[in-house]
Structures are given as C-alpha cells and as structure tokens.
Symmetry: C2
Subunit: 270 residues, 2 copies
C-alpha cells in the first residue's frame, strides 16, 4: 500500500542477514541505488540502521530498543519469566516460552541450558507448527475446526525421520496432546534433540503460552525426558497462577483474576 515504506521494510529484512553495501541492497530489493540511498538515510536518521564502515549498513540500535520494549509489554512474558528462569536453573536445560499469534507460533523468551549445545532457536523466531512441542501445545488448545484448517495448510517439511508429515497424523497427535496435558517432540525437529512442552493458562482457563524443555538425546533418553514432565507441569502450574489462573482443580472462575504482582490480568494478554 505504500511503496517506499514497503521497500524500506524489505531493506531491513535484508540487513537482518548481515551488513550489506548499497549496491547489494539495490540489487536484491530491485530498486535503483539512489532510491535505496535515500531510504537508508531516513532509516539512519532514526537509527534503525547504522553504517558499520563507510560502505556497509547494518541494523541499528533503535531496533533492539523497540523490540525489547515491546517484548516487555507482552504480559505473559513478564509474568512467567521467574518460573521460566527457575525451571532453567533446576533442570539446567534450555527452556522456551512461546505463544500463538495470528496463525504462527513465536518464541518470546528463552533461557539457554548449561551445556552449551548450540540450538537453532531465538526469541522472535517462528516455530514450525508440525514438529515442535510448543506448537503442538498451543494448537491443541484451539477449536478442532481451526486445527483442521491449519493442519491442511502446513508444509510438513521433513526435518528428521520422526517428523510428522501428514494432516491425519498431526490431528491425532494434537488430540493426544490435549488429552495428556503436555506435548512431546521426539526428535521431530532436530535429529539429536527432544523436547516436552505444557500449556500456561490465564484466569479464564485459556491457553496463553507454552513452556518447553529441550534436551540433547545423548544426555537423557526418552524415558528420562518424560521424567521431566512432573517438573515441567509444576512450572506451568505456577506460571498459570502468575497469570491469574486459580491455583488448583476447581475450573475457571468468572471474575477477574489477581496475579501475584497484584495487578489485574488483562483479557488482551497473549
């Protein structure tokens, strides 16, 4: 709808892959370099980009500032952070917090494990829907009609031998997750890593986020992974309480919940 803005956003996307020169940008975005130059200058004026050396541009500090400020505003993230951190410290494994938004599952927080096995995840990254435990948890909470719609438009890229690659199996898996109250990724996403995830609920009982634990297989076998489930559920229960959910049993209440910070929970919470 706005040509120049759209081009500028394309430039930002390109710069995310690393510093670029003016010419490189002009070519990949397919815009005359003088135009790119002027857009970059505007971006530079607000420090959305900065020059690393006379001929290379890269993303600037405003972007970091915006992103982290916005992340803090996400209610769930702030409320759940202590539990997430505690889970990371007690298990010493990598833990993620993810939420569902507009058809996608996004990592909104993360604490790395003590064992520095590089994992391909990052705050802000979208999680594949068909092969991650967090996505299964979040999708399992949706109406079945929505699940079907989503299941039919997924690409089902095969990442490992264990990856689920068709809608029928996936829907069955979601049903199992809903019944179990937690989800497993049995090395379906990355060959050597498996995960368990469980939902975080708000005062209305709605699933607002998912917490997962990721473990290298060489460190813990599948039964060992399942052994982490009670600890995971303890964390998600506590996290749900922080989000206003009633402590135990006794289904959702109608009134407005109070969380541990004394602030009232907002319906808008993601």
């Amino acid at each position: 709808m706005s040509q120049s803005l759209d081009r500028a956003l394309a430039i930002l996307g390109e710069l995310a892959d690393g510093p670029r020169t003016l010419d490189q940008l002009a070519e990949t975005v397919d815009v005359h370099k003088s135009t790119v130059l002027r857009l970059l200058r505007t971006l530079e004026g607000r420090q959305f980009v900065q020059r690393s050396d006379p001929r290379h541009y890269r993303l600037g500090v405003t972007l970091f500032d915006l992103a982290s400020r916005a992340l803090e505003d996400r209610d769930v993230r702030r409320l759940v952070e202590p539990e997430l951190r505690a889970l990371n410290e007690s298990t010493r494994h990598t833990v993620h917090l993810a939420s569902y938004e507009a058809g996608e599952v996004v990592y909104i927080d993360k604490f790395d494990g003590q064992h520095s096995v590089r994992m391909y995840s990052r705050i802000g990254r979208r999680a594949p829907l068909h092969c991650t435990a967090v996505a299964k948890v979040l999708l399992a909470a949706l109406p079945v009609a929505d699940q079907r719609a989503i299941a039919n438009r997924i690409g089902y890229e095969r990442r490992t031998p264990n990856t689920i690659t068709n809608p029928a199996d996936y829907l069955a898996e979601l049903a199992k997750v809903a019944a179990d109250g937690y989800a497993v990724d049995n090395a379906e996403h990355e060959e050597f890593i498996h995960c368990v995830a469980a939902p975080v609920r708000d005062a209305n009982g709605a699933v607002v986020a998912a917490i997962s634990i990721s473990v290298p297989k060489m460190m813990l076998d599948f039964d060992g992974l399942l052994g982490l489930v009670p600890e995971l559920l303890r964390a998600t229960t506590a996290a749900s309480a922080d989000c206003g959910a009633v402590p135990v049993g006794a289904g959702p209440v109608l009134g407005v919940g109070k969380n541990t910070l004394g602030t009232t929970t907002q319906g808008e919470a993601i």
Copy 2:
C-alpha cells in the same frame, strides 16, 4: 528524506510504548488518520505491527526476529556470552555487556541477578554517558580529544546526589578509570544501586565492549562492591581472550588474533 518512511518509523517508536489506536497514532504523529491507516497496513503486511484487537495496533513479530538476529551478528556479544553468563552465575548479581557506537553507549546483553530487584535497564537501551560505569569504561578508551568533545555536549542530568554534573569532574573521572583499569558507579545513576565495570579488548588491544556488575547497596556496601573487582577482571580477561586478545601481560600484537572458536576476529567487530 523520505516522508512516508519517516512517519512510519515515528509510528513504530510510538507503538513501542504500548498498543495504540489509529486515532491516537494520528494525533501524536500529527498525520491524517487515513494516512496512518495505510502506513499501518503496509507495516502489517510484513508483520512489523499487528493488531491486538480490532482497534489496537502493537509491534509485531518481525521486529523481534530482526532485532535478535542482528544482535547475534554482533561479534562481541556472541563471543563474550559464556563469560557473561558465568559471571552472573558466580556473583548472582545483574551483569551487563555494553558497547560504544556512534556517540552512544548501548546495552547489548544482560543477565538478571538472582535477587529480583527491578532494574531500569534493557537490551537496546542507551546508557547515560555521565553516570554509568560501562559508559565511563568505554569513553575512557577514546582519545582525549574525543572525550573533551563528548564531555562538553552531555546534559549531566542529576539522577542522584552522587551524579557527576560537570565536564571537568567527568574528564577527571575518565582519567582515573583509564589508570585503574575499571570504573565505578557509586550510586550515580540510581539511588540504591552501585556498579563496577571493566573493558573487554580485542586482538589489537582496542576496547570493544564493557562488562558491569550491578548490586543493590543494601546487599553489599561500597567496599564489598570493590571486592568484586578481581572477579570482574577475571571475567573481562577471559572475555578479551575470547575476542582474540593475547592471554596475559605482553601488550597488543600486530598480527591477526585467533579466538577460542577458531574464527579470525574481524576489524569490524564493535
């Protein structure tokens, strides 16, 4: 230089403070609401913003993605992260990694302390130059001429009774920092918190970043804070080694350094 883009960036800045309606944005940015609507649509198309409910817009996931990808690209951050984490775990205090760019000092990484005293810092945020330990460390490494220029254009906002509020005192402080090899913020920034910081150097001996430890005064008195300096210096020495600096004594070398990851350090590193 580009009107529509500039307005769009202003909108993003506004949205960083929380969800806004179309009218609110139109008013604060001072643009006709139909124009704002069209800009928002373009931003929405690339998920730089998304609607939280039918009438509220907020920052979208692309922004998080871009920011964290760009952060990972910052060499120093990736190289130093293990040391920063280790320092956080051994001291149990809040630790920051900051770097100097284009006249500003920016936090590029952070691990919160175990004691949940809320601190007003955040990745991507600019650190005040006159009252933070990291800024003192980074500025103390600049040529004296640059220091003078910077010292004369600082606002010297008084944050606490201890804040340095004039160029002369500030330049003297920088000289002391350069001589000591570390900097102190004696509750100059926030009333109840004091910090120590030290520089991280690359293969050429250039200061590429600063690491700080922040401690509530009620938890540790000033002498106790200074007692952390050896541990801090141990961390920054290790961090410098990771950045390619030669392990000990023997000033900077001329050749290209090798860091622990086996990659050669880049001159571009911030």
